[in-house]
């Protein structure tokens, strides 16, 4: 085990300031000193301290050195790594809230490439102990707001930070706050949308389970900013642990005077209650969510009026998603200027992604906006397992698009992803390798959105059904010439005319796979071929000469399509074959060809 772990910032600014040369120098110096077996060097993504870059962090002990030059390298090696004496003159002492991970837990290879703002405490603190949160400056942002900020100032700060809604659409959060604050009171509501419904997404659940107080603190600050006394967390009932931890956190916050009447001795009162959703995907849409809280069927309604003007019980309502709320305390304490220094021109801060699919490090990652898809998939995510070839990455959950290799350099931000034909969404990211069929993939997602459509508007309810039928027949080998054009016509129509975001984005998986993998669709339709071997109806099975005649395939064939004498080559009757693939799996000799 190494004695020291050095983390070197590999963000754009630090690279410009020669961080890579410093790395070479460090490696050489360490080699020279003969301590290479005791020191590991890791590169990290942007650490958010560009002004003081290049940044070098030495652990254990979390010595953070700023403005490091090549000339400082020998001193770092000699003094710190060999003599164990941290160097005071290089040390920068900035108490930022984020990225505590390195100083506490290491695992620098995985976490070093991330930047953890909203997940800053997740995996560090005991989520059921408010003391842990308080110890890491918990509720200090709230206290700061109550001590020396006006509601207007809070709104301005959030606006200035450039934070945008993390639920998917990316509406500027500060503008939303401003609009809600402008509405006349006194009755207004603050809602936290924790109705995470994307298949494979668990960002919100993990954030709440790992650090419930940060969401609560964000909401109280939001309540103060817009002049509301009542908050509601709408969370799906399928998240019992998250609910339990929220309930505990709310009770602890109340006990400690952070919720309830006259918070922390100020004149501001605010309380939060939890409402459970029954697991309808569409209830993540804000107007449907509001209907659900009101006790009605969760169905979106046309906007305007927006919830900021007329939301819950027709009162002005501020709805933000879990991740958005979790950003607020950091923005207040570390400042809007600092926050807006992270990310791209239009998208500030970080974004959490749930990495899933054919990727080594499946898990939850938080990276600065502007990180490329390639960095996420191949660096943070560790690339594709089992030596398979990367095919596409699907962002934005069931409403997102599939982006092939040529889009891997796309920088993560709302506009770039949209331009590439996908969406940011709430942060699902599914990696697809060569074993996946894009037609089948599109069909899977569309089946989900069709099942979850609220059924109110025609394009989404009827249109996605027709698209699904076409996709199904294509994957069953019944595709007809013109089907691709029909899919495009329906898809574009549904996108442009649906009532809510669900319908407006439901065709994305289909349209983006047609755009990027059109040849696969054509193969399915015209050649009745599925190159990934996924669409079983299109598969043909053939017994090769290497067959030893063991009879294993014959035994498992449910349609008695296989014949042959023992110890002689068997044969499959294509008329009887139902393409189930049992024989292929049963053959121990690789004597059956699937294609």
């Amino acid at each position: 085990m190494e004695k020291y772990v050095i983390t070197l910032c590999d963000g754009t600014t630090c690279i410009q300031k020669k961080s890579r040369e410093i790395r070479t120098a460090l490696e050489a110096e360490i080699q020279k000193a003969g301590i290479a077996d005791r020191v590991a060097i890791h590169l990290s993504g942007c650490l958010g301290m560009c002004a003081k870059g290049p940044i070098v962090i030495v652990n254990p002990g979390y010595s953070m050195y700023g403005n490091v030059t090549i000339n400082d390298v020998p001193e770092i090696v000699q003094e710190h790594l060999i003599k164990g004496r941290p160097i005071a003159r290089l040390t920068i002492d900035e108490d930022h809230l984020y990225n505590r991970f390195f100083r506490v837990f290491g695992d620098a290879d995985f976490f070093g490439k991330q930047m953890r703002i909203t997940l800053r405490n997740c995996g560090i603190i005991d989520p059921e102990n408010i003391d842990d949160y308080l110890a890491l400056r918990g509720y200090e942002a709230l206290a700061k707001v109550l001590t020396d900020m006006t509601p207007q100032k809070v709104v301005e700060t959030v606006k200035k930070s450039g934070l945008r809604g993390r639920g998917g659409a990316g509406f500027p959060t500060g503008v939303k706050w401003e609009l809600t604050a402008k509405e006349p009171g006194p009755e207004k509501y603050v809602i936290c949308n924790a109705d995470e419904g994307d298949p494979g997404a668990f960002m919100d659940r993990s954030a709440i389970e790992g650090d419930p107080h940060t969401v609560i603190e964000g909401m109280i600050i939001g309540g103060f900013a817009i002049g509301s006394n009542k908050g509601i967390i709408y969370i799906r009932a399928e998240y019992p642990l998250a609910i339990k931890r929220l309930e505990k956190a709310l009770a602890d916050a109340r006990k400690n005077g952070m919720l309830g009447d006259k918070i922390l001795g100020s004149d501001f009162s605010f309380d939060i209650e939890i409402r459970l959703g029954a697991g309808a995907f569409v209830c993540g849409e804000e107007t449907a969510l509001i209907h659900s809280i009101e006790g009605a069927r969760g169905m979106p309604r046309p906007r305007p009026p927006f919830p900021a003007q007329s939301g819950l019980f027709n009162k002005p309502t501020l709805i933000n998603n879990v991740e958005t709320w979790a950003n607020i305390p950091v923005i207040i304490l570390d400042g809007a200027d600092w926050f807006s220094s992270i990310g791209t021109a239009t998208s500030k801060g970080t974004k959490v992604f749930a990495l899933a699919g054919k990727i080594k490090n499946t898990g939850l990652v938080e990276v600065p906006m502007g990180t490329t898809l390639r960095e996420i998939v191949f660096n943070v995510g560790g690339g594709i397992p089992n030596g398979k070839k990367f095919k596409a990455v699907q962002t934005g959950g069931p409403s997102g698009g599939c982006l092939p290799e040529k889009y891997l350099e796309t920088q993560i931000d709302y506009e770039s992803l949209a331009a590439a034909g996908s969406i940011m969404g709430s942060g699902g990211m599914i990696v697809i390798d060569e074993d996946s069929c894009m037609v089948n993939m599109a069909r899977f997602f569309l089946e989900f959105t069709q099942d979850e459509s609220c059924g109110r508007c025609t394009p989404c309810r009827e249109g996605t059904k027709r698209m699904l039928e076409i996709l199904t027949r294509i994957s069953e080998g019944q595709g007809q010439p013109g089907d691709i054009e029909k899919l495009e016509r329906l898809g574009n129509m549904i996108k442009k005319s649906s009532l809510c975001g669900l319908g407006q984005s439901a065709p994305n998986p289909v349209l983006s796979t047609i755009k990027n993998f059109r040849e696969e669709y054509e193969e399915h339709i015209h050649q009745h071929k599925c190159r990934a071997g996924v669409c079983t109806s299109l598969l043909t099975f053939e017994i090769l000469d290497s067959c030893v005649g063991c009879g294993a395939c014959k035994k498992v064939c449910p349609s008695e399509a296989i014949s042959g004498k023992r110890k002689e080559k068997h044969a499959i009757d294509p008329q009887k074959c139902i393409h189930c693939g049992q024989c292929f799996m049963a053959c121990k000799f690789g004597a059956i060809r699937k294609g």
Partner: protein, 120 residues
Amino acid sequence: MNMVTPLELIRKKRAQAVGRIISSGYLSTKRVYVGMATCEIAAGSKDVMEVFREAIAGGTLRDVYLSQKGCAGRCNLEPTVEVIEEGKIPVKYGRVTRERAREIIDRHLKKGEIIQEWVI
């Protein structure tokens, strides 16, 4: 009239919180953190937690601060257990089972041996 500002109040609360954490044994020579989010629990972290709890309750494991934590994002390697010693690089174990937990107690926590093959 009490003129304590919210900021002063929260600082006091923080100091008290830190005091409580320390008095619960935070400054023990070793700290053990077991991941306890839904995903980790599903992977079996409750069993792991139980092994550590029993060891401490039974008196076989002394001077160790045990705590739970949320999901750190290492889904494919769960359940995870961290062992932290002041002044040393933290050690994080992945795919910890009951058996592995017992070995971590015996070899790492008692004898100071880092079990390299399970380290993430």
